[in-house]
Every structure is written in C-alpha cells, then in structure tokens.
C-alpha cells in the first residue's frame, strides 16, 4: 500500500488533518485502532479556558500564554493558526453551525451544572451560555441514565456569575415515548428524536410545563444527522432558546462531527481504516519509509512520503507509562519529553493540581516534526498532532480540542507543502 500520507489516529486531530490533506489533492489513509475520541467528548472547541486564571478572551490571552509556556503546542503553531483552524472548521461543517470565536469564551453548563469555558460551540449548545444569566429549565429524559436534571439545575442556580447577572434554574423530568426499554443510550434517544411524532409528544410535554422567559436545556440527544432540523423544530415550537448539554459517552454531538468529517474525507478520496493497529515502522536515512499495520494474519507495510501521528495522549493510549516507570510513545516509539524522571514523583495527591506527568508527550519543532531532547528532528517526515504533543494540560487549561484542531490542520499544511514540493 502506498500513499502520500498515512495518518495514525481518528480523533479530531487525525480526522481534520486527513480531510485537509485529501482536499489538498494528496492520497491519504487514516488508520485507527478503533474509532476515536470524538465519540466520547462534547464537540465544543475549547481553546483556552484557564491560563491558569479564568480566560475571558482566548485571542487576548494567547500571546501572553504562549510567551509564558514556550513548550506548549500553541507556541509551536501560534495564535493565527489557532484562529485559522476555527474558521476552517466553521466552513467545513456548516450543518453543525459552530458559533463563537477567539474573542470571547462562552460559559456552557456541563451535565453536573458547572460552567465550562468554550470558544466555539455547536449552534445547538449556544443558548446555554451562562454569562448573562437568565432563567433556565433543565429537562431530563427519564429513560436516560446518568443525566440528572436536578443535579444540573441546583448547581447552576448557585454558580458564580462573573458579569453580575442573575441566574435561576429549575429541573423537570419528562418521560418521552420510548416504552418498554430498559437501557437507552444517548444515541438511541437521539435517533428517536429524529422521529417527528416522538418529537411532537416531547414538545407538547415540555410546553405544558414551560414558564415564560425560560430557556430550555436538554441532554445532547437532539437528533443525529438530522440535528439541525430537530433543534430548529424544538426551538421554534417551544418559542424559546433550546440548548444541548453534553452527556456521558456516547457523545451524540461528537458523533455528528465525526460522521461529517468522515463524509468529507471520503468525498475527497481519503481512506479510513478502523480496526487494524499500527505496530511500528521502517526507517531509512532519517526518514520513515513505512508503518507496519497488523491485518488479520499479516503485517502489511503502508508506505508513504509523510506520516502524521495523532494517536492521542495518555487517556487514549498514545502515551503509555511502562512497568519500568518510563513513559513511551506507543506507536512509533518516539521519545517522550516533559515526563518525570524515573523514580521521581509522578502523581500528587491533589487531583486537580498540576501533576508532574501531565505534560508528558512528544516534543515537536515549529513544523510539528518530532524532536529529541536536544531539539533535533528525529525523522524528516514524521509529524505529530493533538494530544500526543508534549507541553499541555488540556483538562486544566480547557484546551484539548483547540490544540487538536490547530495542530492537526497545521501539520496537514506542512505535509501538503512537503508532498507538493517533492513532486
């Protein structure tokens, strides 16, 4: 198998890079051990929420943040790349209708009623912005486990507001017509909300209990591919703002984004292989010539001019901690930077504190090529994107998807330039 580029990993970084490379006219294969983290996360583009103090405007904060954190992935690509990547996403996924920009963070409620800063969010979530306060009713759907409207509403009601507005929230719980089911997943419910009759029933029930001036928050199950129509129907029929709150996995908003990106990848001639694991590589003269892919009985070499590693960080298994206490990059065996010394302290008791191992990952240069501890490029044609890159603490900064998007697209640009230059 020969491609211009092989991308390893099908999360936000790998998929957006794959689409961009394919649209740029190069032959690309995205290979992933399983489908990626988009199915688990909320599909908001969190660029920078804490630095570590709360960030109101990522655009205003990014330059200082980069100066203070020279090892951070944002320092490799710069503020303009972050900004450009968001425009790219907005243009490519008009159905999702991303709203917001780098100028101001929205504050959206999580399923437990905590305000979370996000720069860019799906249109179906935007009415949940808490910054200006307001009256909210959080609607639970009874068959859906792990979404407790009272928990969400009670926490929201006591959430501190930075703008001095007032916020009221109450909870209601409704039983949508999904009779006879013991176990309903968010995706199952989302499919049912695609049905106009089911939706009509839900709208009627909510209407009866809605008070004037209330904005409606619901678990993020408002349709799958038909979500724009489902959300519009609910908003118009209820005559007020309706917003989705990300649920525990599976994440329907994430699945929508994945499906759109996959469709873009395919129409641009790119390939996605889900299932086979990349076991390693062949290298020659400072370049990787092929990655070794475990098919059902044979190891098959996928040769390419360029490779992009977007296999995720510790939570996705892209970075692993070995039994010898050493951190390893699990696919290509690249060196891991910013890891605690073997024998040193790896974890601190304060769960939300700055953990010693938090920034571990693969260090890269400004062209996103993996570098060693001296800063020397390891392979001319191996780039890294997303959570595999060293230097960020996405869960503390609220920067995960922002980094994935900006580095994925920046790496794709470098790859396209290199592929075209080689012609």
């Amino acid at each position: 198998m020969t491609f211009d580029c092989v991308v390893i990993g099908a999360g936000l970084a790998g998929m957006t890079a794959g689409v961009r490379i394919a649209e740029g006219g190069a032959r690309v294969a995205v290979i992933a051990k399983g489908v990626g983290s988009l199915h688990l996360g909320g599909a908001t583009i969190d660029v920078l929420g804490y630095a570590p103090e709360p960030v109101d405007s990522p655009r205003a904060a990014l330059d200082d943040f980069i100066a203070a954190n020279p090892d951070h992935p944002y320092a490799r690509v710069g503020t303009n790349a972050v900004s450009g990547s968001i425009e790219w996403l907005r243009d490519h996924l008009p159905e999702i209708g991303f709203v917001g920009d780098l100028d101001a963070n929205l504050q959206l409620p999580t399923a437990v009623g905590v305000a979370k800063p996000s720069a860019v969010v799906p249109r179906s979530m935007a009415a949940g912005d808490l910054r200006a306060g307001g009256d909210f009713v959080i609607v639970g759907l009874e068959p859906l486990k792990d979404f407790y409207p009272a928990y969400c509403a009670d926490n929201l009601a006591v959430a501190p507001l930075t703008n001095g507005g007032s916020l009221r929230a109450r909870a209601i719980s409704i039983a949508p017509p999904v009779a006879g089911e013991a176990d309903v997943s968010p995706l199952g419910l989302a499919r049912r909300l695609g049905d106009p009759e089911t939706r009509k029933e839900i709208i009627r029930t909510i209407s009866n209990r809605l008070e004037p001036g209330e904005t409606v928050g619901m678990p993020a199950v408002l349709g799958v591919d038909d979500s724009p129509a489902v959300w519009t129907d609910l908003s118009e029929s209820l005559g007020t703002g309706v917003f989705e709150i990300p649920t525990l996995p599976p994440s329907v908003p994430g699945i929508r984004v994945f499906r759109k990106l996959l469709s873009l990848l395919r129409s641009a001639g790119g390939r996605l292989l889900v299932g086979p694991e990349v076991l390693g590589m062949e290298a020659e003269g400072g370049r990787v010539t092929a990655v070794k892919v475990d098919t059902s009985t044979r190891i098959v070499e996928y040769r390419a001019a360029e490779f992009l590693l977007a296999s995720g960080g510790v939570s996705a298994g892209g970075i692993k901690l070995g039994s010898d206490w050493r951190f390893v990059e699990s696919v290509l065996g690249l060196p891991v930077a910013l890891a605690p010394e073997p024998g040193g302290e790896r974890f601190l008791p304060d769960y939300f504190g700055e953990q010693p191992a938090a920034r571990a990952g693969v260090a890269v240069d400004d062209a996103l090529r993996a570098v060693d501890s001296e800063g020397n490029v390891i392979y001319e044609n191996v780039r890294v994107a997303g959570a595999t890159i060293a230097g960020s603490e996405p869960w503390r900064e609220k920067s995960g998807n922002g980094i994935a998007l900006a580095t994925g697209l920046a790496a794709a640009d470098e790859i396209l330039e290199s592929v075209k230059g080689g012609d």
Binding site: L40, S185, R191, P250, L262, L273, G275, T297, A316, G317
Partner: protein, 408 residues
C-alpha cells in the same frame, strides 16, 4: 478462550461498541455488545451466559473493529453463544442452514425442483412453521452445476506463476459464474489457477454455535490447502467471510491450533487484496475498458474484519468512467444465516434499512459487495442486482469478448 478473555480488562466502558452495534440499534431484543460481552462475561466463569439475549448478536464483528481499546468483543460473544447453545441445545433449523455444502450436494442434481420448492410461497410458509426459516428470507438459487466440475475441465493458458483458489460453497453451488470470472481475471494476469478439491470452511456452523462440527470442517479444509501453502503459493478467496475464517476466526473464535491452519492463514488473501497487491508491485494488468456505470459499493462487515482497507475501491478506481458510491452504512443485516431465521429476519431488514436506502438513492445499474449472503440480501431488499467486485473487473477487462475472440 483465555486469549480473548484477557482483553476484557481493557474495556473502559466507553460505549463506542454500543454506538456502532447494528443490531442493538435496530432492536430492543439485543442489549448491545458491551452488555452481553465485557459486562456479562464476568458472570460466565465456567457456566452458561446469565441471559439468552446473547443469541441476538449477529456476529458481524463491528464491535471489535471499532473498539479503541482492543477488546475482542465479538469473539468473546461468539464463544459465549456456543456455550449457551451447548447447554440449551441447537435447533434443527440451525443445523440445516449451517451446512451449505450438504445442501448443495443434495440439491444440485435436482436444482430446478429445489429452486421451485424454495421459491414457492405456500411451501415457504410451511417451512417457516415447521422449522423457522422466514418465509421471505432470501435463499440462494442452486445453479444446478458446480464450479468444481467446471474447474476440473477448464484448461487455462500457459502461465509462469501459480495461485490457489479457495472458492467456498457460495461459488461452488450458487454462483459458479463468480468462480469462473475469478479464474478469468487471475489467468488474464498471468496466473495458473489451481483449484484443489475443497469443502465448507465451517463458518456457518461457527456462527450457529456448533463449534465442534465447525472445527472438523476447518481442519479438513486447512489440510486440503496446506500442501500448496507449504510450497509458498498464495491462496485467494472470492468469499470474504470464508477467507476471514481461514485467516483469523478459526484461530481466534474456534481456537483451532493446527499447523495446517497456521500455514494456510499466512498465505490466505482476499481476492481484491491480492489483486491490489499485484497492482502495488506493478504486476496487475490495467488494460481495463470503460464501464460507464453507477455502482453503490458496500464493504461488508467481514471484509472490514480483514483489516486490509478497501481494495475493491482501489480496483474500481482503475476502471475508466466507473462511478462508485461508497456506502456509509455499517451492515446489511443478514450476517450469514442470521437474517434467514424467522425471529431475526425483521431485525435483519431493519439493520439494513440505511444501506438499502443508500443503494436505491444511487439509482444504480448494479451494486457491488464482497460477500455472497450480503449480496443476496441487498438484492432481495432493493431489487438491485448486486455483484462481487471481481465481476466488474471481469467486464472491464472484457474477458468474455476476449474468450470469444480466441475461440473464434
């Protein structure tokens, strides 16, 4: 069993398998792969499954493919289902439909009668009541001749390289033309095609939980093919699910540890995989004529289980003017013998609905799919003639015309 079970510990309950399970998305009777797999497996220490909903798993294998943690969900569930059947007993129907080669041998000499019986609606209603094969389920037509018989008489052109063809029961009894076209394409590319005597691979027995019988079949088949593999000859299959059985499933699900099987699996190729490998090495002939057709292509679940990407799409890309519409639907629903069962036919139709709509929306000339039972099901549900990718290649090479010309 231990190898598969060990993967359980990697489950983080992310629910991605449930998201992709075509069956649990279509019916409430199946609670989903995570539930009957990594969760219920903890209660199956040397005993039967805690509940029988497991039987509604179609065995498509998608859960294992999409799992980002490497949990062998489908394999664990297949093994548990076999245990369930051992304790609860296997229906007569399942014993019959799991043996296509037996049916093929019996029906081929009397094919017109057998086909009339199996297409006769009143008789099908009786069969449904008697043994539980759904009256509307797509059953293949017996060709009335076998591919083996054709192959024994066939004399190919002189060639310098050889390949072994594992045609499977589908091509032998139901679609001998596919076998002939596969041979034609390989011969056109300079191969002598060896067709050893061969029987069923045991896959339908495996998917019906009859593991011991399946092991017998797959061992015998491996023994028949192994001498060629030991000579280093590649073995190709135009039946993607049976090829996967030899590559991986006999080892992973049936736990057959066998030298013959090992060497055969190492030399086993899906036909499209093999042809694209030739292309990669610059050895595939590209004298392909235009086919101005619109063809929806469905990569069946078992094809995806090979982990080889979509070689059929790459081959289609070599055919001028062929417009291929890749289907996004995961599964057609039939899953071998699953969808012909009375209690599961409706589920199989619901599972395939997205695909059927996609196929029809393409307003196609023909549809393409690598697996025989999926082709029959798609054709049944959409009325669109559905062919193996090799058939399109055969047409683009104009091999019938060439054969005619050389005879003339």
């Amino acid at each position: 069993m231990e190898l598969m079970r060990a993967s359980l510990d990697h489950c983080v309950k992310c629910t991605i398998c449930e998201t992709y399970c075509p069956v649990s998305n279509a019916t409430q009777l199946f609670p989903g792969p995570k539930y009957v797999g990594p969760q219920a497996e903890r209660f199956r220490i040397g005993d039967i499954s805690p509940d029988a909903s497991l039987d509604y798993c179609s065995g498509c294998g998608i859960c294992t493919q999409v799992c980002p943690q490497g949990v062998k969900i489908a394999e664990i569930n297949s093994q548990a289902r076999s245990l369930l059947k051992e304790t609860k007993g296997v229906r007569l129907r399942d014993k019959i439909i799991a043996r296509p080669a037996v049916g093929g041998r019996l029906a081929t000499p009397v094919a017109p009668v057998a086909n009339w019986v199996l297409q006769n609606r009143p008789i099908r209603r009786v069969i449904e009541r008697a043994i539980g094969i759904h009256r509307s389920a797509p059953l293949p037509r017996f060709a009335g001749r076998t591919f083996q018989r054709w192959a024994r008489k066939h004399r190919g052109p002189a060639a310098t390289k050889s390949v072994v063809y594992f045609h499977g029961c589908g091509a032998n009894y139901f679609e001998p033309r596919l076998g002939e076209m596969t041979v034609g394409v390989l011969e056109h590319n300079g191969f002598e095609v060896i067709v050893p005597k061969q029987d069923c691979c045991g896959l339908p027995l495996q998917s019906n939980g009859l593991f011991d019988a399946a092991r017998g079949y797959v061992r015998r088949l491996a023994a028949a093919l192994a001498p060629y593999a030991r000579r280093g000859l590649p073995i190709v299959s135009s039946s993607t699910s049976c090829g996967l059985m030899l590559k991986r499933e006999a080892r992973e699900i049936l736990e057959v540890e066998d030298d013959d099987l090992q060497v055969v699996s190492e030399h086993m190729y899906d036909i499209c995989e093999f042809l694209m490998m030739l292309h990669d090495e610059g050895e595939l002939k590209t004298d392909l004529g235009s086919l101005p057709l619109t063809v929806p292509y469905h990569a069946p679940c078992q094809q995806k289980g090979h982990g080889i990407g979509s070689p059929a799409l790459d081959l289609f890309g070599l055919i001028p003017e062929l417009k291929v519409v890749e289907q996004i639907a995961e599964c057609c629903g039939i899953a071998g013998t699953y969808g012909v069962k009375k209690e599961k036919y409706g589920i199989a139709m619901d599972v395939g609905e997205t695909l059927f709509q996609g196929v029809k929306a393409a307003d196609p000339d023909v549809a393409a799919c690598d697996s025989e039972t999926c082709r029959w099901h798609i054709e049944h549900a959409t009325g669109v003639r559905t062919v193996h990718p090799v058939e399109l290649l055969h047409r683009a090479y104009a091999l019938d015309l060439r054969a005619g010309a050389s005879r003339g």
